[in-house]
Amino acid sequence: MISRAFLFVVVTLYTVFAAGPFVWVATMSVRTTTEISLDHYAWPQIWHWEKFPIAWFKSNYQVYFQNSLVVVVAAVIVLTVIGSMAAHCLARYRFRANRLLYFIIFSAIIFPPQITIISMFQILVQYGLYNSLPGLTLVYIAIQLPLTVYILESFFARIPADLFDAARMDGYSEWEIFWKVSLPIALPAISTTIILNFILLWNEFLYAVVLITDEAKRTLPLGIQRFIGDTMYDVGMIATGLMIAIIPVVLIYAFFSEKLIQGMTAGAVK
């Protein structure tokens, strides 16, 4: 009984800790900046739903949202396909320099973005991709590929080799085995990487702020930054922007979360 009460208290505290900021931003998103400056934590007296269409149409959020969606969805698709293929090869086939290749891909994780961004900037300028959405997409693929391969490789390595042998005996080629056997089995791990990559890239700010300058090419995090002026913050609109930005993340999470949990607990129970 005591342990249940203790668990309840811990879970309640953690929920307040995790959900508190979200609820706070959600309430601020339907309050004006004037109201917020009078009392930061008050419950909305008047629910200003009109702030959402204002942000969407008049503050260019429509464009930012679209840019973010194009860049992130394209990057996540490419990351998922290339990452899973690379992980399948590294986990499944014995070939010379297998581990060396894995190490080289993985070693990109250890460099902080502040270092790689300089070279990324130079490369994009040289190839005429600076200040373009395809350029930003390529950079996003490059920075997230090591983590994607790392997560997927460890999952693919746990798929019993007998399954591949059975598929070969059933007459399938290596390419077909990847699509028909490996990929469906690895779906929990792939869902994990999809959620992870989507959230990280959806919120990505540093590369976007350096590599994008045009107003029409800004992504959502840059759009939200627009409400931060030199002398004042439009806190109310920032909160509204944040709520707009959160919606796709919540949707993606809701759609893939069951698979995510399977991915995280895979192998824990036989």
Partner: protein, 356 residues
């Protein structure tokens, strides 16, 4: 049905010094049930995987129905294989698991439905077709794995220790079903196991392997009764053959401090091999006496462990359930010398019986 021929088949893994499979010669006849038997790491699974096309052949020659197969891909050999781990596709239903190989071979959907239904009925799993593998018991999974092989109607069936993940009772049942299946299909089957009971009960012939080499090939009773060397004598049979160092001089075999009359000629130093069932406890005309170290009643029979005077290793005898020997007693023993074997201590090979 098909014949399978292995000629000087060798496998060397990259970086490996010793051959994993060393000059294996084996001919499997049409419709024969051949068992590859041996301890872990003896090369039996590697040999099977080379026949399947899942391992490359380092040297030698493999033929199915007289046609060279060395360079032919696994999918084009028309072979089906049942794996120890079942290797069922976890994301597919039982129906899809069975149909997976047929779809690749461009069978019509009506033909696939018919074949899957036939196999499901044969193996008694018609009601399981919609289930996923994780919702099946071990025995049911084994059945699906078997069905996946049968449904393709291949030339040759390969089994890689298919029963070793099942519990003892289920294993006995599946063993019987596999024997019946072989009789009904009349197909050529190669079956790998380390379980001698499976080998003895299922195989038309047994190929015993050790250290990558074939040690002996023969019918189960032949290899049991006439083991080629001490390895086969010790490996086949439970409890195994008693192997005791002995010396021979003028018609008498001396084992420790005991002597036995031997009606044949042989070298001075030999290894004397006798199966536990060929030692009679408290029998008529006892030749030696031994001290009882342990008595293991198994219900139908009793295993008695002895120590012969002057012999380091224990001797096991299989007696009837009525054996009354007690631990510490000296009991008379009679050896059936006609069933005993002598082995050369240098080569471990059996010394041919030239009875005088």
């Amino acid at each position: 049905m098909a014949t399978v021929s292995l000629k000087d088949l060798c496998k060397r893994y990259p970086g490996g010094e010793a051959l994993a499979v060393d000059s294996v010669n084996l001919d499997v006849a049409h419709g024969e049930f051949m068992v590859l038997l041996g301890p872990s790491g003896c090369g039996k699974s590697t040999t099977l995987r080379m026949v399947a096309g899942l391992e490359s052949i380092s040297s030698g020659y493999l033929a199915i129905d007289g046609k060279r197969m060395n360079e032919i891909a696994a999918k084009d050999r028309d072979i089906a294989m049942v794996f120890q781990s079942y290797a069922l596709y976890p994301h597919m239903s039982v129906f899809d698991n069975l149909a997976f190989g047929l779809r690749r071979r461009d069978f019509s959907s009506s033909e696939i439905d018919k074949r899957v239904a036939d196999v499901a009925a044969t193996l008694g799993m018609a009601e399981l077709l919609k289930r996923k593998p994780h919702a099946l018991s071990g025995g049911q999974r084994q059945r699906v794995a078997l069905g996946r092989a049968i449904v393709r109607d291949p030339k040759v069936f390969l089994f890689d220790e298919p029963l070793s993940n099942l519990d003892a009772a289920l294993r006995v049942g599946m063993r019987g079903e596999l024997i019946k299946l072989h009789h009904r299909l009349g197909a050529t089957m190669i079956y790998v196991t380390h379980d001698q009971v499976e080998a003895m009960t299922m195989g038309d012939r047994i190929c015993i392997m050790n250290g990558g080499k074939v040690v002996q090939i023969g019918s189960p009773l032949d290899v049991y009764r006439e083991p080629a060397d001490t390895f086969v004598a010790a490996f086949l049979g439970s409890p195994p053959t008693n192997l005791l160092p002995a010396t021979f001089a003028s018609g008498t075999l001396r084992i420790g401090d005991s002597t036995l009359a031997l009606q044949r000629d042989c070298p001075q130093n030999v290894i004397f091999g006798i199966r536990p069932e060929d030692i009679r406890i408290e029998g008529v005309a006892p030749q030696v006496r031994g001290e009882v170290l342990a008595v293991e009643p198994l219900g139908a029979e009793t295993i008695v462990r002895f120590r012969l005077p002057g012999v380091q290793s224990d001797v096991l005898a299989r007696g009837p359930r009525t054996v009354s020997a007690k631990v510490g007693e000296q009991v008379p023993l009679a050896f059936d010398m006609a069933s005993a074997h002598l082995f050369d201590p240098a080569t471990a090979h059996r010394i041919a019986q030239e009875r005088t």
